[in-house]
């Protein structure tokens, strides 16, 4: 594990991700874990840009850009083509943002995992449509400002629990991961690689631009999401076996919210309410584990 982090680079410098981009870090860790025998299917998302405008590519592995809603379907097709060619070595990965996973790509994703297609679906979650200008998605958390939930109209709906939705499909493997916990992330990606069938990784990827945070705080805030139980690290095998991978320091959620401009309008009362929501979700998860 230790070695994996320090060698083999599958990204080129010069990609055009924003300064401090969590999604770039997430991709870097994922490919370090999966290695060069990987094909990336890329529905519309920030990474459609980061991967480079034609004729450039910022990845050292093959990438197929796909339509927004088609991540699950294209990956199924790539897998089928590889199977025809007799290639069992290559891992097919759909790398989608939260829009391409929670919202627009959900149908194709649900269909593919219901068929238990042999691929890894990775959602790097930056909690809004960042690439198009910070529009809210069903992944945007309760309390957040976005350009479509501005001012007092901040989002008053909870974030969709995507891992639970995938677990409900009883896929062989579903896990959360976070860019501030690289060893855990790499371990889960390697584990997913060895499993047959549909695997789902939900990677928390901070977004300095959309979250109104200083770029240097990218990792710090990602770590705080875990330490407050807002984004617990856990994995679920075969839709039933839950394992919580990290015991958090259980900091109050306030510590996480106060660092970010997208939450600056929240009152103490709002934060108390959010704390209760987080506690409730955490207790629910503990019951399952």
């Amino acid at each position: 594990m230790e070695q994996t982090m320090h060698e083999n680079e599958y990204l080129y410098s010069g990609h055009v991700a924003c300064s401090g981009c969590g999604a770039a870090i997430a991709m870097r860790f994922l490919l370090k874990a999966l290695g060069e025998k990987t094909i990336i299917v890329l529905p519309a998302c920030c990474w459609s840009i980061i991967a480079g405008p034609y004729p450039q590519s910022s990845l050292k592995v093959p990438v197929i850009h796909s339509a927004f809603e088609a991540g699950g379907a294209v990956a199924s097709g790539v897998r089928a083509a590889l199977d025809v060619k007799g290639d069992t070595e290559t891992t097919v990965v759909t790398w989608a943002g939260d829009g391409g996973t929670f919202d627009i790509g959900f149908q194709a994703l649900s269909g593919a995992v219901e068929r238990n297609e042999d691929f890894i679906y990775v959602c790097y979650d930056n909690e809004a449509y960042m690439n198009t200008g910070i529009q809210r998605s069903s992944s945007t958390p309760y309390g957040a400002w976005t350009t479509t939930t501005p001012g007092i109209e901040w989002k008053k709906l909870r974030k969709k629990n995507i891992v639970e939705a995938l677990v409900a499909h009883r896929i062989p493997y579903a896990a959360t991961a976070n860019i501030a916990f690289p060893e855990d992330l790499v371990r889960k990606a390697k584990k997913a690689k060895e499993i047959k069938g549909s695997r789902f990784l939900h990677i928390y990827s901070s977004c300095p631009t959309g979250w109104r945070i200083p770029s240097e705080m990218s990792i710090k805030i990602a770590r705080m999401a875990v330490q407050t139980n807002i984004f617990p690290l856990y994995e679920v095998e075969d839709g039933v076996n839950y394992t919580i991978n990290y015991k958090s320091k259980e900091y109050p959620v306030r510590e996480y919210f106060k660092l970010q401009g997208r939450f600056k309008h929240l009152s103490d009362k709002d934060l108390e309410q959010i704390q209760e929501m987080v506690n409730e979700d955490w207790q629910r998860l503990l019951k399952k584990a």
Binding site: G14, S19, A24, Y54, P55, Q56, K60, S215, E216
Partner: protein, 584 residues
């Protein structure tokens, strides 16, 4: 349709396929903040009068590189065996880890490293400058004199140390009991110093005339003969037979004498000498009482020592001052007057004055004076004023046309007397003389300021000799600059000690040694404030692959062609070994 050249085989269907990398985009142009590697100063090293590079010592010890860690101490202090035992370790009070959970047991690790070096007979490989023609005489072989000689030897000078006693060490040899500082520990350090080419002439008492002679044969003289005469009590009966100097008593014990101490001994004073005398008396089977004019918390003796003293059964009487001593049928009557607190002294200790006329009498077998020491001869003292005098931090330098440079140091010029302060004084004297010989007298102030650790007052030989440490910033890393996300609470070690009953019957060393695994675990707790320990977080978290490994000492560099200046590397550095600055 473009042909896949670099990245993949020729596409067989009609879709556009990228064939070049993004490396032609020099995203470094986006940057308005610039991260760079910049090691800084750890608070412990700045608090250490000898300026030891403690953060690095702990780092090396963590890796099991005990010889290298020991050599790193020797850069700045030739007495790790001694200081690991008797130093009052101000470093530990400054330790940032103390704000997190518990300070690192720096002195315990120092002692472990020195014991390990002795056990394995390590021969240090030290940086030294080419030999020079100047020869220096050093008067006194205490910690200050020997440290001065040692550093001068490393700087290329021939050094002769003159000692009046039959063995070197000064107060370390004759004034500190062996249960605190065993002879073997001192001898290991002294022989290491001698192995650097320092010549020690014992049994050579220097008189004023001999000093004059030295002016003709040496290019510099370092006077560091310490304070060996007891300060007088100034009360009637002080010169009775049963009233002796505490320091003389300690010397006789270290010479091997087994003194008769039956009955009650009263020790007057509150410093380490008083405590050492009382604890020695107890060990010889006597009873001891310390009479101190201020309160326990005002005692200059080390806190730990006072706690053990009380544990060993010595009585401590606070706020009493001796008034008279009289002899009565083979015993003595000591009259003590009670004192009261009347404000605070500039050093924060209580100022005391007589509390009315209340007195009490104690019948005692003997009285020890331990209220501090002064220079044995008046000419040991540096001249107080004159245009040819340069007052340094811990030394006084005299430059007269009729004789070579003379530096007075150690206890003679110390604001605070302790072993490590004497080492610091010896180092300052050595560096000052070196600057005089290499660059001239006018450069002394500047040269000394250049090799300070942090804001001083400690000096560093490594910085003076332009070693790696020279590149560090003098910024002292405060606790707030440590990224504590990377550390979890762990308990520090408890110094293992002889049990009370074992202590009472022997002069065996009270503090026991620790194992290598305990030392490594303890040193691993160190934050290594301001120092890169190659954790590689900067590399791991870089979103732009702009931290590139290389073969430099740093092991990596920032590729400014692509670094966007996000600053993650600087924030995620657990120990503030990087800095983020605005681009010009």
């Amino acid at each position: 349709m473009a042909k896949g050249k670099e990245m993949m085989g020729p596409p067989s269907i009609l879709i556009p396929c990228s064939y070049i990398s993004t490396e032609s985009n020099k995203t470094g142009a986006w940057r308005f903040l610039r991260p760079r590697y910049e090691e800084k100063t750890s608070p412990c090293s700045a608090a250490c009068p000898a300026g030891e590079d403690i953060g690095r010592i702990e780092m090396l010890a963590t890796q099991g590189l005990f010889k290298e860690a020991w050599e790193t101490i020797l850069w700045e202090n030739p007495f790790p065996g001694v200081c690991g035992r008797v130093c009052y370790h101000p470093c530990e009070r400054a330790c940032n880890r103390g704000e997190f959970d518990e300070a690192i047991a720096i002195h315990t690790i120092e002692r472990f490293l020195s014991d390990t070096a002795a056990r394995n007979d390590f021969k240090p490989v030290l940086e030294r400058l080419p030999a020079r023609k100047e020869k220096i005489a050093i008067i006194g072989s205490g910690p200050g004199g020997l440290a001065g000689a040692y550093f001068l030897a490393l700087l290329g000078y021939g050094c002769d140390v003159f000692e009046s006693m039959p063995e070197p060490g000064g107060v370390l040899r004759w004034g500190i009991p062996s249960y605190r500082l065993p002879l073997s520990a001192l001898r290991n350090d002294v022989s290491q110093i001698e192995s650097q080419g320092v010549r020690i002439y014992t049994g050579r008492r220097i008189t004023r005339d001999l000093l004059e002679d030295m002016y003709g044969t040496y290019d510099g003289v370092f006077v560091c003969c310490g304070h060996s005469a007891s300060r007088s009590l100034g009360i009637p009966g002080e010169n009775l037979k049963g009233v002796t100097n505490g320091l003389d008593f300690l010397r006789r014990v270290r010479e091997g004498e087994i003194p008769s101490v039956e009955g009650l001994s009263v020790i007057i004073g509150g410093g380490n000498t008083a405590v050492d005398v009382a604890r020695s008396v107890i060990r010889f089977g006597g009873k001891a009482l310390i009479a101190y004019r201020r309160r326990r918390q005002d005692m200059p003796a080390f806190e730990d020592e006072v706690a053990m003293l009380l544990d060993e059964g010595v009585e401590l009487r606070e706020l009493v001052a001796p008034i008279t001593i009289t002899e009565e049928s083979g015993e003595y009557v000591l009259t003590l007057g009670s004192m009261k607190v009347a404000g605070e002294d500039t050093d924060g200790r209580a100022r005391v004055e007589r509390d009315g006329d209340t007195t009490e009498e104690i019948r005692v077998k003997r009285v020890f004076k331990a209220i501090g020491e002064v220079a044995a001869e008046s000419w040991f003292e540096p001249p107080e004023k004159g245009t040819d005098i340069k007052i340094l931090n811990t030394c006084v330098m005299v430059n007269r046309p009729d004789h070579p440079a003379v530096v007075f140091g150690g206890d003679l010029t110390a604001g605070f007397k302790s072993v490590v302060n004497a080492v610091a004084s010896g180092k300052e004297a050595a560096i000052a003389l070196d600057i005089v010989f290499r660059k001239g007298l006018d450069s002394v102030d500047e040269g000394l300021a250049d090799c300070m650790v942090g804001d001083g007052p400690a000096h560093s030989m490594e910085i003076h000799m332009k070693g790696e440490r020279y590149k560090r910033s003098s910024h002292i890393v405060p606790y707030e600059e440590i990224n504590t996300d990377y550390f979890s609470f762990t308990q520090g070690i408890t110094q293992p000690r002889l049990l009370r009953d074992e202590r009472l019957t022997s002069f065996e060393e009270v503090d026991l040694k620790i194992s290598a695994s305990v030392a490594m675990r303890e040193s691993e707790r160190c934050f290594n404030c301001g120092l890169c320990n190659q954790c590689d977080n900067c590399y791991i978290y870089c979103p732009d692959m702009s931290v590139v490994h290389d073969s430099s000492i740093q092991g990596r560099h920032v590729d400014y062609d692509y670094c966007k200046g996000c600053g993650i590397c600087v924030v995620e550095c657990p120990r503030n070994a990087m800095s983020l600055e605005e681009e010009d």
